[in-house]
Amino acid sequence: MSSEPTGTNIEGTAPDAEHVVETDEATITDDAELERTIGLSGGLAIGIGTMIGAGIFVFPGLAGAEVGAAAAASFGVGGVIALLVALPTSELATAMPKSGGGYYFISRGLGTLAGTVIGLSLWLGLVFATAFYLVGLGFYALDGLALVGITVGSSPETIVSGIAVVAGIGFTVLNVTGTENAAKLQNGIVALLLSMLLAFLAFGMADALGFVDAGTPPGEARDVWAIGPIMSVAALVFTSYLGFAQVATVAGEMKSPGRNLPLAMIGSVVIVTAMYVLTIFVATSVFTQDALAAAGETAMVEIGRALLGTPGALVIIVGGLLATMSSANASILSTSRAIYGVSKDALLPRWASRINLKYGTPHVALGMAGGPVIVLAATRQVQLLAEVASFLHLIMYGLMCVALVAIRRDEPDWYDPDFTVPGGPVIPVIGAVASFGLIAFMDPFSIVVGIGVIGATAGWYFYYARDIRLKGAL
């Protein structure tokens, strides 16, 4: 079998292929070099920065309302599944340190149809995730307005949508025109968030374990320790873990990818899982199930208020705004890389990856990210957006595990990962089963929307690019 991609799309464009040499510092092509500039801290900031916004600041109220204190177990299940996928993803990424992440691994391991479906689903999955983060941002901004004494009239929902849409437009424009070094800003925000959360957790743990009494409100505890509900909440909150694979979308720009990619992906999952489980433990200790249900998307603000009064509420609001912004921004960046990956392989028109010389930014791809994000953000359907995002990512995660098994079985010459998942096929197989299995616990309507998206992407492949062959090509 040829190791070159073959075929052309409906416009007659062939995949762009070239022999490259990867070193720790650069990718060397025939005529040019591509500098690797993102270090381990940058990789961790992408992983943690994408994940931490949704999970800690939006879900405690929603998840606690369903199962009470058992929500900590739901977050634990999500973390374990994420780790089971992060290990195989690390192996694939060290063997193929390229832009595009999951799309790249699946198109080379399982063929062009699966690749196209995942490449386009990664784009749309990130669009759903970004819209979810922006709606979370809207809820936090609304609470912030209330805290500084601005009360909104009869339709707070409209305000949330409005803020989400304006923020979506803002981030898109910022990404097209902003050429300042936002990576350093992102690193700073992540560091600030982690320290704020640690302080909050320390105080909350002291309260939860009875060392201090913050005078938490009375309520009726209804903790639901049952497999079904815990898994169902795990499916809902899995959106909190979508960031680790985004590290793979910048794999082509990571320094020493053989070392930094596994550390950044696995490290960010472990750190974030620990933070989530502890936060949920605190949240469900301070507020019982019915109190969490009443507080909704911004329950964390009420918990901060119960623990530390108005300053506590303020800290959580600022943290929530920063975290949802950081998630939204990191996701828009990943989206544009996902679009570039498929466009380079001629599965989308080449113009989708055009960049402009004025700002040097991929304005078309950023527009293809920002446009649908704005439409979805206006719907304000937190749960639906989160679950569809999770659905599309879980399909990708499951297929990445399958791709790892398939590539290992084929043993192609080019496959030489620096990091190998121990235990043979056990972890990837469990990872695949867990990823696909979690989908079964989702809301049926979310599953229908997700399947619709997958169907549309498969239709696109048969219409646009059915002659292209990518399997086995590096």
Binding site: E33, L34, E35, A182, E253, Y340, R354
Partner: protein, 234 residues
């Protein structure tokens, strides 16, 4: 032979002045064509779009070097981080010095800064090699608070250059190395300095405006403080 790296922001229409090309006629030259991208853009995406245009511009530059009597090969890099790229390529080609181009005609006089904690011998060796047997005068500048033995440094350096047949003047200043250098610029065509002088490093590695300032005073040659051993150089 001594190699000098000339970083050029090739897609921004930057080029190398004819005076600098002539000055570097006695040494090997690598032109580093680079293009800095914001983090939103994968370097590979820019390569796909701009590689041909950048390569053509670099080939034109190589032709101009040959016309000016020298020779140059080139590397093309798409990057998010200019400093990291310049450092890496300088290491890989084993460059003794970096040059940033500035507006200049023929180069008849060099301003050589020995201020700060720099490897004086490496700077002098480089100056002697670049000048060769040409009629180019040198002003040695030592600025900053005088330390024990710093007068001796200037005199020893001056006699070392005179032995090589170079016309030398010396200048001492107690002002800051950067300001003294800028004050002495008007009577000279190009600057030579050591990389390890921290206050001068920004001329090459600083932000855009600092580098523009450097370019406006004419070409600046920065002698690197260390170079990799021969087996590391590619």
């Amino acid at each position: 032979m001594t190699r000098v790296l000339v970083p050029v922001e090739v897609l921004a229409g930057k080029t190398v002045s004819p005076g600098l090309m002539q000055l570097l006629g006695t040494v090997d030259v690598t032109v580093l064509g680079y293009h800095v991208l914001p983090e939103q853009t994968p370097p590979d995406q820019a390569r796909l779009q701009y590689e041909e245009r950048a390569t053509a511009a670099l080939e034109d530059l190589g032709q101009e070097f040959r016309t000016a009597g020298g020779a140059a090969d080139h590397r093309l890099v798409f990057t998010h981080d200019r400093e990291q790229t310049v450092d890496r390529i300088a290491d890989e080609v084993g460059a003794r010095a970096l040059a940033i181009s500035g507006v200049t005609g023929d180069i008849d006089s060099l301003l050589v800064s020995l201020s700060g904690d720099v490897a004086v011998d490496r700077i002098l060796d480089f100056v002697i090699e670049v000048i060769g047997d040409r009629e180019i005068g040198v002003t040695l500048l030592l600025a900053g608070q005088p330390e024990a033995g710093s007068d001796g440094r200037l005199d020893t350096a001056a006699s070392q250059l005179r032995e090589a047949g170079i016309d030398v003047e010396t200048s001492v200043s107690t002002g800051s190395p950067f300001e003294s250098l800028m004050d002495s610029v008007p009577n000279h065509d190009a600057i030579v300095m050591g990389e390890s002088a921290p206050s001068l490093r920004s001329l090459v590695f600083g932000d855009e405006s600092e580098r523009v300032a450097a370019a406006s005073v004419g070409p600046v040659l920065v002698v690197r403080s260390d170079e990799p051993s021969d087996d590391e150089a590619v």
